[in-house]
């Protein structure tokens, strides 16, 4: 993960490397203040090549390189088992840390700025180190970068031996991510550093034996091999080769010899104590058994085995090795029983087998490979011969007890000196005669035609600390094979844990880690946890700022989180910018909370949960009082409200909200005011509904409607048009109810169906609004020559508003259906629909809808002006009488279409 700002730099740095060498992480601006280092702009880069990692120190001409020519690779440090890194705090400063790198005896201290970049980089490097220690890695790819650079080990002066201590944990812990996952490995690492504090070395005697039995059954006792020492050893590791030479053993992997030889071992081990087998493994003829003294059994842990065949086809089990690994107390041991390629001349093949075993043995747990163990015992028929001397010469030297002359010609010694095999293994002095090849059941070297030169094919070597060989010998009494068995007795230092001390160290470390972890948790303060808004009004956004300050020592990454069962981290009337972010230690961040009320609420209230990633949560309470508006009130309520909304007493409002209260107006007064104004003043205005108005004007019209005013409407014709659109968009319930939404769209292709929905399924008040609006739009269309509008445009605009989506902004593809639905009503004559229903429903108390409809559809009469007067000025004279007159006058006639009218009657009664 790289900082966005570094993306360009990454590309430039990557260009320095081949395509198989991937830049994984970067740190710009790493300064180094050590004597032998010139103060330059340096970049640290973590580069991966085939799962090996290296840290590159790159000099950059510029603080931020702009081209590849700005960069010079200064150092390449392989990240292998010699590589260590950690971070240190600089006392009194919280802005920078020291990033320490140790490689063999070089120590580098980079000062880098604390922050996301540094913690990320440090943890990437630490992680790469963790994956690197597991295997022997090939770092040849680094060679090309180190040519011409003085050997890395000579340069540095600071040789003080300081082991990486706890600080390594800090950035990682502070990081917050995956901290618990790292914790155990971190703890293990720290514990291992403190190992001397809770362990002591105790000598264990380990008996290692190897014998190529030439496929013979155990017809003799093995006592003279396994029980020749006075003291019983603590551990036995006994390996055989050529346990069974039969085809069956090779092909079926099964042999009766296995059990026979295991029994022979058990019969022959030291009688003075009891042993238990801890592991046993066989591959064809190679068998290895590890036994421990009963009393140590419970201190043996994590036993694992593996086998590697290197024989036919390079994988069959006629040659190769078998291995057992285990932990005895706190020391890891690995025993490898190998049978390498035969043949005098096959030296390279044997070396190859050795390498294959090393590379391929894998214990599928940590540590995976042979070499990673504290102690390795390598035994077996390694098959190295004597080449430079004839059998005759060898036998002559042996007759003279001159072993050393022969040993000079020993292939194993020679190959080892050339570092071709068992490079860092040790072998004790050989003081016994070659163990191969004897005539069976004799002590006589090969008398066959081949007359091979005697050789020390059977060997035991070791690797690791604290191993002391006590004896290295052959056992000439066991004659059934053409090899003689060999054994090595070792006194080996095993690290034993003192449980009490261990517990103490363990607990102390945990405490330290807890402390660090808590100390490095992200910490912030907010300047207020109660945000109260002033009176919140419809579509009049208000904001309040809060300040978050990072008072902790690490980067604080924050975000607002959802409460259980909530869909979002805040209510939909609120928005927070930014709703997540990062704040560096000591820095602040302003958050803006904006309310924009579009729904009918009396108060707003929400508790926000501000979460710090990897840390605490803080609650911020947002509240405020809301002002009612006709824009978010239901048609039903408005039609029952005797006076403008904000003039209503609470009781009056309750009364208006009550569905049982009488309907006072067929359409809400507010709607009438808007439409009537547009009808009188806007029919000839171009792009009436497509021109956006000043927000303040719309707000003024809102207040004018809500408060009720004698003043002329306070806004341009466009503001009134926009107010109308808003009114229809935000009414508490959509004009066409949600449950009809899909039905309407489905019916959109057929006018009769659409008409039926409107006439039969809608509530009367909603239908009034719908038809009233439609009548007005038709008037608008009549003037299309002047205003330039057309039915399609209006249908699109109003379709979206009248057929409000159940979930806002869903399914834009439905818009066409909505438009065509409305379109029908714009191009067909609606007067037959209006008159009967409006009249019949409200003839008792209100004929006004019909009057407006008439006023709009052009049948002007005096009711028009009087009504307007009444509606605009609520205190004006009641026009009822007038309307009754008007009705009596018979100016108003129901439609002649009787069918239509009776249908409508039915529907309104439904």
């Amino acid at each position: 993960m790289l900082l966005a700002t570094h993306e360009n730099v990454l590309t430039i740095v990557q260009a320095k490397f081949s395509c198989t060498e991937i830049v994984k992480a970067l740190h710009l601006n790493a300064s180094i203040k050590q004597k032998t280092w010139i103060d330059e702009n340096r970049i640290l880069a973590l580069v991966e090549h085939e799962l090996t990692y290296a840290l590159f120190i790159i000099i950059s001409e510029k603080l931020k390189p702009e081209s590849i020519s700005d960069l010079t690779i200064e150092r390449a440090i392989p990240i292998d088992q010699h590589f260590f890194c950690d971070t240190d705090l600089i006392p009194e400063t919280y802005s920078h840390i020291v990033f320490n790198i140790a490689y063999k005896n070089i120590k580098l201290h980079f000062t880098i700025e604390i922050g996301f970049e540094s913690s990320n980089f440090a943890s990437e490097v630490i992680r790469s180190k963790e994956v690197s220690v597991d295997n022997d890695k090939d770092f040849k790819w680094l060679d090309k970068y180190t040519v011409g650079i003085a050997s890395i080990t000579l340069l540095d002066t600071d040789m003080s031996d300081q082991s990486p201590d706890l600080p390594i944990a800090r950035q990682k812990i502070a990081q917050g991510y995956e901290k618990s996952a790292n914790r155990e490995s971190l703890l293990r690492y720290q514990l291992s550093l403190k190992e001397p504090e809770y362990t002591h070395q105790q000598e264990f005697s380990i008996f290692v034996g190897t014998w190529n039995v030439n496929g013979q059954p155990p017809t003799i006792s093995l006592k003279n091999w396994l029980s020749v020492d006075d003291e019983p050893p603590d551990v036995y590791a006994i390996g055989f080769q050529e346990l069974d030479l039969s085809k069956e053993a090779f092909l079926m992997f099964d042999t009766p010899r296995e059990a026979e030889w295991r029994k022979a071992i058990m019969d022959a081990i030291h009688p003075d104590t009891k042993y238990r087998s801890v592991a046993y493994v066989r591959l064809v003829g190679m068998q290895l058994e590890v036994l421990v003294n009963n009393s140590h059994y419970k201190h043996v842990k994590n036993v694992a085995i593996d086998t590697v065949g290197t024989g036919i086809l390079g994988k069959m089990g006629n040659k190769g090795g078998v291995a057992v690994r285990l932990e005895l107390h706190n020391t890891s041991l690995c025993f490898v029983n190998a049978h390498l390629a035969a043949g005098v001349e096959e030296v390279d093949r044997r070396n190859q087998d050795y390498n294959d075993i090393n590379q391929r043995a894998n214990f599928r747990r940590h540590p995976y490979t042979i070499r990673e163990h504290d102690q390795v015992y390598w035994l077996g028929d390694l098959n190295y011969r004597i080449t430079e001397q004839t059998a005759f010469q060898v036998k002559k030297h042996l007759a003279n007890d001159d072993l050393s002359s022969v040993l000079l010609a020993d292939q194993l010694n020679q190959q080892k000196d050339l570092s071709k095999v068992l490079q860092d293994y040790t072998e004790g002095d050989i003081t016994f005669q070659p163990t191969y090849k004897f005539d069976l059941n004799t002590d006589i070297y090969d008398t066959s035609e081949k007359a091979r030169a005697p050789a020390w094919t059977d060997r035991i070597l070791w690797r690791g600390k604290g191993i002391h060989q006590i004896a290295y010998r052959s056992h000439m009494d066991l004659k059934i094979s053409d090899h003689k068995p060999v054994s090595g007795l070792f006194k080996s230092e095993i690290s034993v844990i003192d449980q009490n001390k261990y517990r103490k160290v363990h607990e102390e470390l945990l405490k330290k880690m807890d402390k660090l972890e808590n100390e490095f948790l992200p910490q912030v303060t907010v300047d207020q946890t109660e945000v109260t808004f002033d009176l919140v009004k419809f579509r009049e956004p208000q904001y309040k700022d809060i300040i978050i300050a990072n008072t902790g020592q690490v980067l604080a990454e924050f975000e607002f989180i959802k409460k259980l069962d909530d869909v979002s981290y805040c209510k939909d009337w609120l928005s927070i910018t930014p709703f997540s972010g990062c704040i560096r230690p000591g820095e602040k961040c302003d958050l803006r909370l904006t309310v924009n009320l579009e729904q009918p609420l009396e108060t707003i209230y929400d508790i926000l949960v501000l979460h710090l990633i990897g840390g605490k949560d803080m609650f911020i309470t947002v509240s405020g009082e809301c002002q009612r508006s006709c824009f978010t009130t239901s048609i039903a309520t408005l039609s029952r409200a005797p006076v403008p909304l904000l003039q209503l007493t609470p009781d009056q409002f309750k009364h208006a909200e009550n569905q049982q209260s009488p309907v006072l107006y067929s359409v809400p007064r507010e709607l009438w005011l808007l439409i009537d104004y547009l009808y009188r003043n806007g029919l000839k205005t171009r792009e009436l509904f497509e021109t956006s108005a000043l927000h303040e004007e719309v707000i003024r019209i809102r207040d004018w409607l809500d408060l009720g005013s004698m003043d002329p409407i306070p806004g341009s014709i466009y503001a009134v048009a926009e107010a109308l659109l808003l009114f229809l968009s935000y009414t508490r319930d959509p004009i066409i109810p949600y449950h009809l939404h899909d039905t309407c769209i489905a019916a959109a292709s057929n006018y009769q169906n659409c008409k039926q929905i409107i006439m039969q399924k809608m509530l009367d008040l909603d239908r009034n609004v719908f038809l009233y609006l439609v009548m007005f739009l038709q008037e608008l269309l009549k003037c299309s020559n002047e205003n330039g509008t057309d039915a399609k445009t209006l249908a699109t605009i109003f379709g979206d508003i009248l057929l409000r989506d159940p979930v806002r902004n869903s399914r834009p593809q439905a818009n066409r259906g909505k438009a065509s639905f409305i379109y029908h009503f714009l191009i067909n004559d609606q007067s037959p629909l209006i008159m009967p229903s409006g009249l019949q429903k409200y003839e008792q108390n209100d004929g006004r809808i019909n009057c407006w409809a008439y006023s709009i559809i052009g049948q002007k009469n005096n009711c028009d002006d009087n009504l307007r007067k009444y509606w605009e000025y609520p205190d004006a004279e009641d026009p009822f009488a007038l309307s009754e007159d008007f009705l009596k006058d018979g100016n108003f006639k129901p439609d002649n279409d009787g069918n239509q009218s009776s249908k409508d009657t039915q529907s309104s009664e439904n």
Binding site: Y177, A181, Y189, N302, H366, H506, E559, L564
Partner: protein, 215 residues
């Protein structure tokens, strides 16, 4: 030291007991001393004027048992009634809860009982609940009798101790008692961390939740 085998690859993993991680939540009326108990337990401190918690504070602390190590992720919640609806965010998925009341205030004990009820209904059914009667040092103003609380705790299968964040009395003990009572069998935790203690395995790097602001 200089030529030791690199420590990181030493195979001494066998010598440690396992580390189990548990989420623990503190609940109770505001001002009964929840934050103070945590502060005492984690840092060994006590503040006469403990800032009131507006949110949910987070700290971690490890306790060592004979064979296991228990790491608590402690969520100290705000006690005010108006934050009540947010409490489930913290006790859902918690394996342990300490419900705290103030022995000098009978109302807080009543409130504690309703918390216990809520936990029994809504929290993880295996949750280990401890009841802490805090401010034991103010014995002379005691309003809630030890026996009464003790009997209530027994009836409801709760751990119970009277504690004092001020004098540290029983503070470590109550956490330790919880640690002991928590089930430590491996991998019983369901997804989302509810259920029981999560055994942390090496190499379990977890999903790296990258910061969404700094990429």
């Amino acid at each position: 030291m200089a030529n030791r085998t690199p420590a990181a690859q030493r195979p001494n993993g066998s010598t440690q007991g396992k580390i189990c991680q548990f989420k623990l939540v503190l609940l109770g009326e505001s001002a009964v001393g929840k934050s103070s108990l945590v502060l005492r337990f984690v840092k060994g401190q006590f503040h006469e004027y403990q800032e009131s918690t507006i949110g949910a504070a987070f700290l971690t602390q490890t306790v060592c048992l004979d064979d296991t190590t228990v790491k608590f992720e402690i969520w100290d919640t705000a006690g005010q009634e108006r934050y009540h609806s947010l409490a489930p965010m913290y006790y859902r998925g918690a394996q342990a809860a300490i419900v705290v009341y103030d022995i000098t205030n009978q109302d807080t004990f009543g409130r504690a009982k309703t918390w216990v009820k809520e936990l029994q209904r809504q929290a993880n059914p295996n949750i280990v609940i401890a009841l802490a009667g805090n401010k034991h040092d103010l014995m002379n103003k005691r309003m809630v009798e030890y026996e009464e609380a003790q009997a209530y705790a027994e009836e409801n299968g709760l751990l119970f101790m009277e504690t004092s964040a001020k004098t540290a009395m029983n503070v470590n003990d109550i956490f330790l008692a919880i640690a002991k009572k928590l089930p430590k069998n491996e991998q019983t935790a369901g997804p989302g961390g509810s259920g029981q203690g999560r055994r942390l395995v090496e190499g379990d790097t977890g999903a790296k939740t990258a910061g969404n602001c700094c990429k």
